[in-house]
Symmetry: C2
Subunit: 563 residues, 2 copies
């Protein structure tokens, strides 16, 4: 405590506060705009860094984010620690079970989805290096970089996009996730190999031996250490404090993984990532443990890292439109063609294959880290770095809209897909009438409908024949003058009497409003809802929920189990 | 990323890994020994620091924990950040509602519990300063330090001890917690005042104005800002991502609080703490949000800080038995007499007052941080610092056993107090007989009883008259040849038919075994269990649980609501 002066300490805390505050703020803003929060976090960094803040207030920039000295060191150290934890969290998300289940089509998709963009990137970099780098003699390593950078997709962003589109748990969604996981796994290994080659002396042996080492390390971790963890985790969760013991265990293991790979001459992040994969695969690991770690890392550590990227570079002076356009075209074309073709070969239809291509086109953390290292090693310059960041941002932003476009609206229209968490309430209504009114108000306020009118329609139906169904379900419904179906749900834990056949009180109350002239659609949705809860355990699961988000995610899961 | 060399980065990650690994390891070990984990974490630091590791392997110590240079700076910065977050977490735990409910006796206890040890410390330091410090002219500030250091109790350790003894939610327990919260609140304010005075020039005005500022800041935060947060939190939880948005919000606010107090000339930690109090008081803040933040901070950041303490000082060379004994005697006597007398004045009996004194005698984080600052300012030397650390460790270790001693066994023998989480199972039994057998086996394996015999006794009773009670409860029971009553619980969510009067299936099944000749005790316990669930909401609350720990903590809460 004696080394950092009180001013330095103030500076350090100020820097962390500003990074976290702006990062989270812009992240949330982008989330509201249905974009990946990471894009907002990077933009927050660009605003706080030399590009904007430094342009107008250079002295302020130097005070808040000093480049050197104790505060500079400390900021860098905590950012580096953040990347490690972030990679640990990414690794924890990899589900080897899904890889096995969707293995074949996912592998084909991954193969073409990585090969084609790699070839695109490698070829262009090798053939016209003078566009990007000053010294064309180093074209081989540069070509390796560009090929690798273009061929890796971003699992977290893809998962997020699929969740937003409500197709995460469909067969198509799970195949995309499986491909993205393969991609991640292979991507990080390729990344480590690239780093070893880049740092190596260039002789044949010095390239082969790290590759062997990396593959060996990965294999040992995933085959042997994973099983050890699988046995240890129940012990840790039972014998140590909960969840403190297991949280500490996972974090320490992530750090140990980083140290091992560093000592083996690979990079720390590979170790953290693979350790995450080995740990996260255990079914014994409780969901709440994963949740605490994920939430804290993605919400506190990750923003620090993403904001830091923008702090490092002046995006305005380094912006070169030609390079940005080349990188964008190469990246988009290679990935969409490659992954799309792979999905098509894997048995998907044309539209779905395009959707896969668009989904896999999302880039993220790995590109950014890889480019950062390449920049620091002098393999690329700032202009290309900015080009890659543009690729990350634009590919991520466009992913959702492009998938929607390719799938059309039909695929996205089932009952569960109609819902967002805003359409679900925890209700304390004490009568059937109150509950129906509550739901009608919820639906009408969102869709700007006349609530008296809608209520009358629903109530008329309800009075003629009450809509209680078995297993605590009730589906009040009506056909009204709208274009698209509307569904809202109330969970009423005390239960209300909707005169269900099994004499149970209705706790899950679904209000279904459908367009006037579409009989088919109403029937389809009604039977879909009824089917959803035909199994007692499903309705139980929903009733034991405490928030709209929880209900929605459980519904999505139930739906996917039934497909 | 360009500044830290790859060796420095490795060193930094190695240091964090070792600190976290050893800290958590020893913390868990001490938890197993029914001690506060913080004691284990401090001892981990002593082992890793100059006292042990540095004695045998001085070069290794210098490599892993360099005192200066980029790695030294970075370790210090992250440790400082950890204290801030730790204080934020401590603040989040303060429940102003409890302060109001138990206000009167808690205030009296706090008043005497702080005044007497302050007088003890101040008087001894002022009268015989030569024992502790080299320059007796600075005796005033030194006396202020010792008085303050001895008068502050440790809320987290006290809470933990009371939880371990199962008296947390009793009236006595809540009064102790309320006192500890007052103590914390006043303690941190006193701490900030002490720092301002110590750093000030010593003129009258420079002492008074920071005191006024600190009190004003605290008042504004707790009266006005707290209400603002209370209104903002539902918005944050609803509109931003969940739980990411609120986690980010709380962490950023904690940092902002730190920056404000630093700018106002107080210390950063006061701001983080008071911000925590203002945020944590809102009833809107969901339990799971609090949980994620608490768990991550106490399990990742806190160990880094506590281990760091041991790294700083050689406890062997600085160990002075005379000083340790003086500090221990002063600390114990002042606090036990003061808080005990306060509790007695506040209306508690003699034994209970002693228990209050022993509980409040626990010291912790605040003493440590205060002493660290005093050490750095040259107000105290390393020997006294070591003395204070000893006081922290020994007072915390002895707190539990001393409370037990003073309360005797009678007070700790209610139904809920009989239970630990091992005595509770989530059961999937499909018949009444299976469920009873499961419970009998659980009880018998722990207490080494003959399960056939016990089962026969219980089943005989069950067959003569089934023990189902209203609200999904059943209490199979028997008197058998044991010395102390035994209770175990099974939660069976599907419910089993114990022929309850309300025709509902029994989901909460309590097996109660009592000594053969103690009719009274059996009746008392049976009626206690029945009363516990006489209210429908209570049984519902238990049924909606997913783990033994959750059931136990809910039972404790229900019990306390009824007292």
């Amino acid at each position: 405590m004696s080394q950092l002066s009180s001013t330095e300490l103030f500076q350090f805390i100020l820097a962390i506060t500003v990074m976290l505050g702006f990062g989270k703020g812009f992240g949330e803003l982008f989330r509201k705009l249905k974009q990946a929060p990471v894009v907002g976090e990077i933009i927050a960094g660009i605003i706080l860094g030399p590009t904007i803040l430094g342009y107008f207030f250079p002295d302020l920039l130097k005070f808040v984010f000093p480049e050197s000295g104790p505060v500079g060191y400390s900021l860098e150290a905590i950012t580096q620690l953040s990347i490690l934890f972030l990679l640990l969290a990414v690794g924890l998300e990899v589900d080897l079970g899904i890889l096995i289940r969707y293995g074949k089509s996912a592998l084909i998709t991954t193969f073409y989805g990585m090969l084609i963009p790699f070839i695109f990137g490698f070829a262009v970099a090798f053939l016209i290096p003078q566009f990007f780098i000053d010294n064309p003699d180093e074209r081989l390593i540069f070509a390796l970089f560009l090929g690798t950078a273009l061929s890796i997709s971003a699992l977290p962003i893809i998962a997020r996009t699929l969740l937003d589109l409500n197709i995460f748990r469909t067969k198509l969604g799970m195949m995309i996730i499986a491909s993205a996981m393969f991609n991640d796994l292979i991507g990080w290994i390729a990344f480590s190999i690239f780093l070893s080659v880049a740092e190596g002396t260039g002789t044949g042996l010095s390239i082969v031996s790290p590759i062997v080492l990396i593959l060996l390390f990965t294999a040992v971790m995933i085959v042997i250490v994973r099983k050890l963890f699988h046995r240890m985790i129940p012990w840790v969760q039972k014998e140590l404090s909960w969840p403190g013991g297991i949280i500490g265990f996972i974090m320490v293991m992530g750090l140990v993984g980083a140290l091992i790979t560093e000592k083996l001459g690979m990079h720390t992040i590979l170790g953290a990532f693979i350790m995450g994969v080995a740990l996260g695969d255990s079914v014994h690991l409780r969901e709440s443990t994963r949740e605490i770690i994920q939430q804290f890392i993605t919400n506190i550590f990750a923003p620090l890292f993403f904001v830091y990227i923008g702090l490092r570079i002046n995006f305005l002076t380094a912006f070169d439109p030609t390079i940005v356009i080349i990188v964008l075209v190469l990246g988009f074309a290679g990935k969409i063609i490659g992954a799309g073709y792979g999905a098509y070969k894997g048995g998907f239809g044309k539209n779905e294959s395009f959707a896969v291509g668009f989904a896999m086109n999302s880039r993220g953390v790995l590109e950014i880290i890889l480019s950062l290292f390449a920049l620091e090693m002098g393999i690329i310059n700032e202009s290309l770095f900015v080009g890659i960041i543009f690729l990350v941002v634009i590919s991520s932003i466009l992913s959702g809209p492009l998938i929607k476009l390719s799938l059309g609206k039909d695929k996205l229209k089932g009952f569960v897909q109609l819902l967002s968490s805003e359409d679900i309430v925890i209700s304390n209504a004490v009568s059937k009438r109150d509950a129906v009114m509550e739901l009608v108000e919820l639906a009408c306020s969102k869709h700007k409908l006349d609530k008296t009118n809608v209520f009358n329609e629903v109530w008329k139906r309800e009075e003629s024949l009450s809509t209680g169904i078995e297993n605590h379900l009730a589906i009040p419904h009506a056909k009204i003058d709208i274009k698209k179906p509307i569904a809202v749900i109330a969970l009423n834990k005390d239960g209300l009497n909707f005169e269900a056949a099994d004499n149970e009180l209705s706790k899950i109350i679904v209000l279904l409003l459908t367009p006037k002239n579409e009989n088919e659609l109403q029937l389809k949705l009604l039977s879909e809802v009824a089917n959803l809860f035909a199994d007692k355990t499903n309705s139980k699961e929903i009733i034991n929920s405490d928030s709209s988000e929880e209900i929605l995610s459980k519904l999505v899961k139930i739906k996917s189990r039934m497909e």
